[in-house]
Amino acid sequence: MSADANNPVLDRSWSDPPGLIGWLSAINHKTISIRFMLTTMGFFAAGGVLAMIIRLQLARPENKLVGPDFYNQLFTMHGTTMMFLFAVPVMQAVATYLVPLMIGSRGIAFPRMNAFAYWIFLFGGLMLYIAFILDIGPDAGWFAYPPLAGPEYSPGKRMDFWAQLITYTELSGLLEAVILITTIFKMRTPGMTLNRMPLFVWTMLVTSFMVMFAMPSVMLASTALITDRLVGTHFYNPAEGGDVLLWQHLFWFFGHPEVYLIFIPPLGFMSSIIATFARRPIYGYPVMVLAVIATAFLAFSLWVHHMFATNVPELGKSFFTAASAMIAIPTAAQIFCWIATLWAGRLNFRTPMLFALSFFFILTIGGLTGIMLASVSLDLQVHDTFFVVAHLHYVLIGGAVFPLFGAFYYWFPKFTGRLMSERLGKWNFWLMFVGFNVAFFPMHIAGLRGMPRRVYTYPAEMGWNLLNLVSSIGAAILAVGILLFVINVLVSRRRGEVAGADPWGAGTLEWATASPPAPGNFAQPVVVASRFPLWSPGGVAGVVRGLADDRREVLVTSVLDAVPNHRAMMPESSIWPFVSAVAVTVLFVGSIFTPWAVVWGAVLATPPLIVWFWPKRKATQMNLEREVKP
């Protein structure tokens, strides 16, 4: 680990400026990522509080705690928050921290755009919650089917805030996808061929490509909804030749891949954690990579299984049944490869490992109920019932949240320099695991026994009382578990055991940096010759020399084999991404109220973008000099 030498010149050149202006100008990928993670976890907590109110309301039949108006806002906000403000962005947030470190880069591609993506995301989320607090929270469900979400049946501004939030998160998500793809393809350290990339980096590469294909679909859908509502177009109005099913096709063409945007990055968490705590590489690296790619392709061919109850043609449905069931095969292949890894490994049951291992229990149930939902006939019974609520939470909490919490326990020492408490961690895990299953398993049965989702109340004699009470108790246990996580983070950040560079004895490059890493990550970027450079006998293969330390210089390498191509200058910190994000927010929020905001908002948003890209004499000078004298 000779790469980890102190280098004050490098630290200075990659540091963001001090002070409030400096804080708003920060573009270092680790700084932005930490803010991004904290923001998404803040939204996770908010969404969790909403869920607790939902469970309180449903704990008893004919409960009068909240009325239909507030309840409909509650579950719409809960779903929207968890899908758009937590699950997808949190993966991108973690990735913007880890990917550059894992591929041995000093920085991330397009760092100013990264800062802009963060600010846009933050402002979008704040807009939604301010609207909610002012009682203009959306109330037509997180997939907002027209005509219910359209101008006639959702008058007022509630659904406009929802549709505009989609614009925000898409913008942020697409930018992050561009950033991650570029970083992964062009900034890997020499020697890190595609074939040696950590599996987490592979999952983020695949996820980012999926974002680029899936997001435009929902962008189209939500823009059509906005124009239906704002300027009286008729995309979804059957009376004027529009079609309400158009929305469902466009939305689920995004919405189903979205599940995999949430689920694929955690597969990378799993592979990182299992490799480290089984003390061996994951068995079947090519299978793992191909399985993720296959999942990504199949994910785009099964959106209609959300629409089996509509009158789409029967034969077409059978095709989607087959495609939906087939997506289980790559997932099964990965599960078997992990079990093989555990079989042949030597295991260390630290908290991150416990969270990762719970996947085998929870996600397997979620996957199997997914196969049930893929069947047209069974889906006709359980679609839009609590069975689906149970299924999607088993998949998303078991497949994403548990591995994500494992990932936080695993990389927390890298983020902060201190380990999280193991004792609190074990309590945290077991409370979450038990609470989760107690909360969500009974929902399968409630759904089969006829309980539809999204009902704010139910009659006492339906036979659902006990099931719902048990679910609510489980939810409370789950909430206590998550609270312990927050306590553990707060306590460990100050008083946790000091970690050192590589507390787990892991093998990938992020552990070659200090904990937390210096602003420039690697004093000397390393050359790698293996998938686990830190596990190679004799350490890393070599170091890269010749990169300037007194400026933000990075090495750009080739896509396939990571052969050095040239050196590139990364931009200086700048406040203009922040100012641009504010200006774009004025445009977006303004256009909820008047279409003219698109016009004057664009005029307002243009100058900051021009200043953002305005070339500086000093930087141009420096670039010219560098061409002559490397």
């Binding site: 079989w343 030597r346 047209v376 019974q381 036979g463």
Partner: protein, 340 residues
């Protein structure tokens, strides 16, 4: 999976105690299609439970047998450069078995779908169901227009005969779901969907809207009453009759109240001048067991309270409060009770 088995046993016990409630339960099938789906459910549940048990057993055995390690245990990197044939075989077999089981389930699903679609439809009763915010409009179709009639929220069908539902929506998307009879079908504005079902067992089956449709989605229930065929014919014959003319003075006064207050703006009573179609048809209101789409039992007290202030029971319902004097209300109730 013992947990699942235990839970369903417990619930079975709980459900038998509440047998008086109309069934709204996919696990208590009484329709031909619901039975077919239930067969598929049992097969799928069995396969999935076995797969889950197998995966969990492999996983638990793997972590039980693997030796333990610490952070400083030397990693086993030699395997990066050499194949691991011992691990390869079980993984390949596992994936292959999964694929075969999936094909089995897909074929079973396909067969079930054909069973659902191939219900013989000779002499079927045709009923048009229209979803409204938040109630169900029901119209019995017939080749002879004079034999058609309308009702709401309570659908009578002859046991043993096929039923064709023609599903439409007047506003947003709803979904018709009576799980003991069949799976659900969406009612989509601008499109017509068909749903066929048959039950051979007379009884009352409950259902409710399954697609979120706004404010009172939770209170949009209906019942399907499967009568023995002769009983059904008698019921239908009664429903085809217009409402009886009021006899007593009080009843006559009640009809007058109906016509001059807001009632007649939205509701129809065949045989009177009230012909509006915005709310449920009331021609045979007194023959129905529930009011407000399964929200309240159809008793004099509830009906009166509902008419005075529907928002007390169903916030957001499109029916406005109707302030009536005690005398007028009494007369109206006397009249409505004649609508058998």
């Amino acid at each position: 999976m013992t947990v699942r088995a235990l839970a369903s046993l417990l619930l079975l016990a709980a459900s038998s105690a509440l047998a008086a409630v109309p069934a709204q339960n996919a696990l208590e099938p009484h329709g031909v299609q619901a039975l077919a789906i239930h067969d598929l459910w049992r097969l799928t549940l069995l396969v999935c439970t076995l797969v889950f048990a197998a995966v969990l057993a492999a996983f638990l055995y793997a972590i039980w047998r693997a030796p333990r390690s610490k952070e400083r245990t030397a990693p086993d990197v030699a395997v990066l450069d050499q194949p691991e044939p011992k691990l390869r075989r079980p993984v390949v077999i596992g994936v292959a078995v999964s694929a075969v089981l999936l094909v089995v389930l897909i074929v079973a699903d396909f067969v079930t779908e054909r069973r659902l679609a191939h219900l013989p439809l000779k002499d079927a009763v045709r009923i048009e169901v229209t979803g409204h915010l938040w109630w169900w409009g029901v119209r019995y179709l017939d080749d002879e227009p004079s034999r058609m009639f309308s009702t709401a929220n309570e659908i009578h069908v002859p046991a043993g005969k096929p039923v064709i539902l023609k599903l439409n929506s007047a506003d947003v998307i709803h979904s018709f779901w009576a799980p003991s009879l069949h799976g659900k079908k969406d009612l989509i504005p601008g499109r017509t969907a068909l749903l066929h079902f048959r039950t051979d067992k007379p009884g009352v089956y409950r259902g409710q809207c399954a697609e979120f449709c706004g404010f009172e989605h939770a209170l949009m229930a209906f019942t399907v009453v499967a009568d023995p065929p002769e009983q059904y014919e008698a019921w239908a014959a009664r429903q085809r009759q217009p409402a009886p003319a009021p006899v007593t003075d009080l009843q006559k006064q009640g009809l007058a109240v109906f016509m001059r207050s807001t009632c007649a703006m939205c509701h129809a009573i065949a045989g009177t001048e009230a012909g509006a179609r915005l709310g449920p048809d009331l021609t045979h209101l007194a023959s129905r067991s529930m009011i407000a789409s399964g929200t309240l039992p159809n008793t004099r007290q509830y009906l009166a309270a509902w008419i005075l202030d529907p928002q007390r029971f169903k916030k957001g319902a499109n029916m406005p409060p109707t302030p009536l004097s005690a005398q007028d209300l009494n007369a109206l109730m006397a009249y409505l009770e004649t609508l058998k």
